[in-house]
Symmetry: C2
Subunit: 200 residues, 2 copies
């Protein structure tokens, strides 16, 4: 990063901060760490941002805004609930890969600060809206009977969110893997067994 | 914990250590922290164990031994691969809940010490054996065509492992929730859509 001194924009500083937060943990990161990673002085950083919590807020907002926007896309708001749910699952996986370091950070937030608790509330709102779709799909008779909406939502997001643990886009390749998206949608909606043997 | 002084066994000390490791992170835990949580002196702890890495090794062994044993159970070693796979998924979810704090610790291991790297190797061995079952089931024609074994294994365990994030057994209730186990098996093998609409 040496030599990039004085060329920082709020956006490029945010990218550096997200990388450092993910490496050291938010609690374990000081403004000193951020300054060193950015190759600028601590006072230069304070010129750009009031403090590390502001960087955290902007970073998790980028993740949360991307995820929330999915719920407002036309295919998520019109049509049968099960199809809207499928759209949300597909697009959530895509947004997760598009904004990989930001969503990674969001998923590690633990609630020690005001900003973290706000992020957890927004995550819960998102989960509730998806659980609502699941309940509606079940009421429509479009979900396997017996599936508990809250439990299914948790397992579904457990599967999707685990992508951050191992997915690394190929250098020079697309940020989003269509193969991963299809695997998520297929596993979530039709499971591993072929349809004709689905009823075990 | 006050008053339990001098009553520590290697097992009860291990339970305290796992709790503290999960709360503070292994790296963030000192022998001083462990002594305080156990309500005994640091020298008493050293009487029981050579150091914190030994406690980590025993804790993650308890998780890994439980998970590995699943792969050697008769229903995991005989019969069609898809049925063996279903047994492994079901039992893995059960072992995860039975040994919840131990598996939680295992899943957070990052590879900074010899013991952590050893644990990661054993986790990978387990994953490879399950991916092998998936490949065999696909070769038998018992899995939905097009499912990539490595990708499906990752998503499957992403779903199962996410249970540690939110599952807390009810006080006085069973340690393992049959409802959660059934939800995992159903989502993994038949997906959310009912069988007759499985082919989307």
């Amino acid at each position: 990063m040496a030599g990039r001194r004085e060329t920082y924009t709020p956006q490029s500083l945010l990218e550096v901060a997200v990388t450092v937060f993910n490496e050291r943990g938010y609690d374990g990161t000081s403004m000193e760490h951020l300054a060193r990673a950015a190759g600028i002085s601590k006072s230069s950083i304070y010129h750009h941002v009031p403090g590390k919590e502001d960087l955290l807020r902007r970073a998790v907002s980028h993740a949360l805004d991307g995820l929330s926007a999915v719920l407002d896309e036309p295919p998520a708001t019109t049509g049968r609930a099960v199809d809207r749910l499928e759209h949300v699952v597909r697009r959530t996986a895509e947004v997760l890969m598009e904004r990989l370091p930001y969503v990674t950070l969001l998923l590690r937030v633990r609630g020690n600060t005001e900003t973290e608790r706000w992020a957890l509330r927004r995550r819960r709102d998102f989960d509730h809206r998806v659980a609502g779709l699941l309940r509606q799909a079940a009421a429509d008779g479009d979900l396997r009977p017996g599936a508990d909406a809250r439990l299914a939502t948790r397992l579904l997001f457990g599967m999707i969110n685990s992508i951050v643990e191992w997915y690394r886009p190929q250098r020079g390749g697309p940020q989003v893997s269509a193969e991963v998206v299809e695997a998520v949608v297929a596993l979530a909606f039709t499971g591993l067994r072929p349809p004709d043997r689905g009823a075990s």
